[in-house]
């Protein structure tokens, strides 16, 4: 029998590292195997042009769990914020931008009704997101009647909804499954407010504002601390701090160590084999990879029962978001924005109908002709990212379906130009400032971060892939079917975003499992 105290973690993304830190802290002998040259997964900082560095995957921090930060003493391991409490600025072509800050919205032509509505919208969104936030650090309950722990957990969730009071409970239950288009139409009249807020419901997903589940997606986004931040040194600094914390606890972290397969014997995990043929034996293997990569590529479908294979195959995880990185030889000048404002979160979503039309293309395997964007210029807050006086622009661009009819090799250059044109509508001089441009399509994201389908949440955030159904029923408690194999990535509850909760919950699941002798 292999040693259950030995744990191999496949993938050193933020969740894998968090899991490693907690397991090492609990006395497990942990080895993290990261395929890339540096740990961090899709939360890394890397050079994309000589002298220019950027958060190559995720670029905003808004979900990182506070308790994890404290437990792992991330600040003492080097984590600092370059910018906190970011506002969102909805760009208007004429320069009459709107600024969202907390529950306030301000700008030319915002009615007092819309201002009041924003206060109310912020109140209920925060409250409803709080229900989801409370679930982040729980191992999802199974829907069954024969386990006391599960029943108590389900009852607590039901109570947290019921205790909101009749009016809010009804509103929560009404809203949770529907689309953000309806909610924003009900609450706001200003087209730019509607457009900008709708991004919360669609970013990173295969959804338009009119798609069901977009409210849930927005709630997921709102379910963290409630403010956005940029880490000093980029996202890589976050994962480096977590890695340092894990090392301090005794975890062995190896990079450039791609795993080729999980070793099995009669339904029990034995360890892993690296691409170089090296075998590491361990009674527990935790995978930070997405569920399809874990079960189909690393484990092999044949080691699962067929019903489970079918469920995993049906996980929706086709990426639709791209990352644009621009190396700029000066500070970009957005019409109507001063330097401080340029450093906020800038969004291009002029109307909610525009966003919906941008999605239309994606439904038919085409990229948007009029895309949407979430832009940050982190170098305004952090001079380590670009040479003095120069800047980097990092933007999430939608919609760019993974399965593009035309094929990405043919489409990529023209689409990159289209996106730069789009940004130039708001920052007219930007094209001349570009030293280098890099676009990561979902296909590139799949290749660079080893996420099947290039979906950075490792699976759509949707109610049918939520909580005890994430990634699929039967593995939602971070383990299932294969004795000794666990999942700790964003494909598991509570999902994507640099959060760390999946990693910690998985560690708890590993620690809660009975020793082999007792089974």
């Amino acid at each position: 029998m292999t040693d259950k105290n030995k744990v191999v973690i496949i993938g050193g993304g933020h969740n894998g590292l968090v899991c490693a830190a907690y397991l090492a802290k609990a006395g497990k002998q942990v080895t993290v195997l990261e395929a890339a040259e540096q740990v961090g997964g899709a939360a890394i900082t890397r050079e994309f042009a000589a002298g220019f560095k950027v958060s190559a995957g995720a670029h905003l921090l808004y979900l990182l769990d506070k308790d994890i930060g404290k437990d792992l003493a991330l600040e003492s391991h080097g984590l600092q914020m370059a910018k906190t409490a970011m506002s969102t600025i909805a760009l208007a072509e004429n320069g009459q931008h709107l600024t969202f800050s907390g529950n306030q919205v301000s700008g030319e032509g915002v009615s007092s009704e819309d201002k009041a509505a924003m206060v109310e919208y912020h109140r209920f969104m925060t409250r409803f997101a709080g229900i989801i936030g409370k679930l982040h650090n729980q191992i999802p309950a199974r829907i069954r009647l024969d386990d006391r722990g599960d029943l108590i957990s389900l009852a607590k969730t039901a109570w947290s909804i019921r205790s909101m009071g009749k009016t809010d409970m009804r509103e929560f239950l009404r809203m949770a499954g529907i689309n953000i288009y309806d909610i924003l139409k009900e609450n706001f009249e200003n087209p730019l407010i509607r457009g900008a807020l709708s991004l919360d419901g669609v970013l990173g997903s295969f959804l338009g504002p009119r798609s069901n589940n977009s409210v849930y997606c927005a709630l997921h986004r709102w379910s963290g601390s409630g403010e956005m931040a940029i880490a000093k040194g980029g996202m890589g600094a976050v994962t480096q701090a977590i890695a340092n914390a894990a090392r301090k606890q005794g975890a062995d972290i190896r990079s450039s160590a791609p795993v080729s397969r999980i070793l099995m014997d009669n339904g029990q995990v034995q360890g892993v084999e690296l691409e170089n043929g090296e075998q590491l034996m361990a009674g527990t293997v935790v995978s930070n990879a997405d569920p399809k990569t874990t079960f189909f590529k690393l484990l092999g479908a044949r080691h699962l029962e067929a019903g489970m294979v079918r469920k995993i195959q049906h996980i929706r995880m086709r990426g639709n978001a791209s990352k644009l990185h621009l190396a700029l030889n000066g500070r970009p000048e957005f019409t109507g924005l001063d330097e401080t404002q340029t450093g906020e979160r800038l969004v291009i979503a002029p109307t909610i109908e525009y966003v919906e039309r941008a999605f239309n293309n994606a439904k038919y395997g085409e990229h948007s002709t009029g895309p949407i964007a979430e832009i940050t210029i982190p170098s305004l807050h952090d001079d380590s990212l670009a040479p003095a006086g120069q800047h980097v622009l990092s933007a999430v661009i939608q919609y760019t379906p993974y399965e593009l009819k035309q094929g990405w090799p043919d489409a990529k250059q023209a689409f990159t130009d289209r996106v730069i044109d789009l940004i130039a509508q708001y920052a007219p001089g930007i094209r001349e400032q570009i030293v280098h441009a890099e676009l990561l399509t979902p296909v590139d994201i799949e290749r660079e971060f080893r996420i099947q389908g290039g979906h950075w949440h490792h699976g759509e955030l949707a109610l049918d892939q939520f909580l005890m159904m994430r990634p699929v029923p039967g593995i939602a408690q971070y383990q299932g079917q294969v004795d000794g194999l666990y999942l700790c990535g964003a494909g598991s509850h509570p999902g994507g975003g640099v959060m760390g909760s999946a990693g910690r919950n998985a560690a708890n699941a590993v620690l809660a499992s009975k020793p082999v002798d007792d089974q």
Binding site: N266, G267, E305, A306, G307, Q481
Partner: protein, 400 residues
């Protein structure tokens, strides 16, 4: 394939196909008693079900098996695939052998039962009552295998009864008597390949014959010519239904609900609950239902599948089974058995009831000239099949 191409095929306009043997079975069907089995028109009876039954027990009967759903599983991973699909260890099934098997959902509930024919090394045929292509293709994910449903490409006859071996010998299948039960052989028949297996659904000496549909009529004619003096008779579904109950064989949709067709999830059955625990092998690695079945073994099953010997001569169709006044089960198949001279039944009982020798009561409703009566009869759980002649197992097969 485009919808227009699909509709152009027009295959859906034919609702029920005549079997490749139809040109022979049609004139023989004096009752014109036809039913539907899968895609095919199937004779429920030809002349008299009792006589057809009697032929199978005393001479031999021929049943058209073509509608049986057949799949061919080939490719480098075919053995690994079969082993993950079914609960038994297929690696023990050598080429030239046939094995009875059940396959389950992940929840350990039986989807269907059937037979695996290991035709040649790594080349399997799976026969089943229900259509399985969707499940079989789902199972193929991650395996280097080819799965083809070839129901329409194989014509099949069951030849069952004491004189079946003699008939095949007379037809020229030299050495057929040396085939062991659950064996199979390939013969040359008028320039094509005839596969013969010593298998059946009647609990007696018997064979099944598998051939290219173009040769179906030739096979039928040769068979009936050879069996002329050996009492060969065509038989229909009704007679087969009686034969299989006597043999103690369960039938999907009658004695258990196929799990993938069951709406009420508690109405399905595990292999243990169907008395098929002997088909479950936990040492062969992962298979569908393994975890659930391990848990069931630990925790105990909900039901037992039993054979009942019931006093009196009235068939206990659809009866409840009582222990005292409490209902503890239901009868799923019942008949008056002419061979066992007993009223017999297959039943599902709630665990832990149903040890051999246990006695229960069944309520039998019957009518005499439209007047209904009820009798409470004692039913005794028996272990063995009601009809189990030694010739079923003898090799060489005896001549009758």
């Amino acid at each position: 394939m485009r919808l227009s191409e699909l509709t152009a095929q027009g295959h859906f306009n034919t609702r029920v196909y005549p079997s490749p043997f139809h040109a022979r079975t049609e004139p023989l069907n004096k009752l014109k008693a036809w039913g539907r089995w899968g895609d095919y028109l199937s004779a429920t009876a030809f002349n008299c079900p009792s006589l057809e039954y009697t032929a199978c027990r005393n001479t031999c009967g021929v049943f058209d098996l073509t509608a049986m759903v057949k799949h061919r599983i080939t490719g480098p991973d075919s053995l690994a695939y079969m082993n993950r699909l079914v609960t038994r260890d297929v690696s023990k099934l050598k080429p030239g052998r046939v094995g009875y098997a059940v396959w389950c959902t992940d929840e350990g509930q039986v989807i269907d039962d059937g037979t695996i024919f290991h035709l040649r090394e790594g080349d399997y045929r799976l026969c089943s009552q229900e259509r399985q292509i969707d499940w079989l293709l789902t199972n193929a994910i991650g395996f280097d295998v080819s799965i083809v449903e070839d129901t329409h490409d194989v014509a099949a006859l069951a030849l069952q009864g004491p004189t079946s071996c003699a008939t095949l010998k007379a037809m020229g299948l030299t050495g057929i008597e040396n085939m062991k039960p659950f064996g199979l052989e390939h013969y040359l028949f008028e320039g094509t390949e005839l596969m013969v297996s010593r298998t059946g659904f009647t609990g007696d000496l018997g064979y099944e014959l598998w051939i290219d549909p173009d040769y179906a009529i030739a096979l039928w004619d040769r068979l009936f010519e050879a069996g002329k003096l050996l009492g060969i008779q065509p038989i229909g579904e009704e007679a087969l239904g009686l034969l299989r109950i006597e043999a103690g064989f369960i039938q999907a949709g009658v004695d258990f609900m196929p799990a993938n067709e069951t709406v009420r999830t508690t109405h399905t059955r595990s292999p243990f609950e169907l008395g098929l625990g002997w088909l479950v092998n936990f040492d062969k690695g992962v298979f569908n239902g393994r975890q659930a079945l391990l848990a069931e073994k630990e925790k105990g099953s909900r039901y037992l599948s039993v054979r009942l010997d019931i006093e009196g001569n009235k068939p206990a169709n659809d009866s409840y089974v009582y222990k005292g006044k409490k209902v503890i089960g239901t009868i799923t198949s019942a008949m008056w058995s002419p061979s066992a001279k007993a009223s017999i039944a297959l039943a599902t009982l709630e665990a832990p009831h149903g040890k051999p020798g246990d006695k229960f009561t069944v309520d039998i409703y019957y009518q005499r000239e439209l007047k209904w009566s009820r009798v409470m009869a004692t039913a005794t759980v028996v272990k063995d099949a009601f009809y189990d002649p030694p010739r079923k197992r003898q090799t060489p097969a005896p001549d009758w």
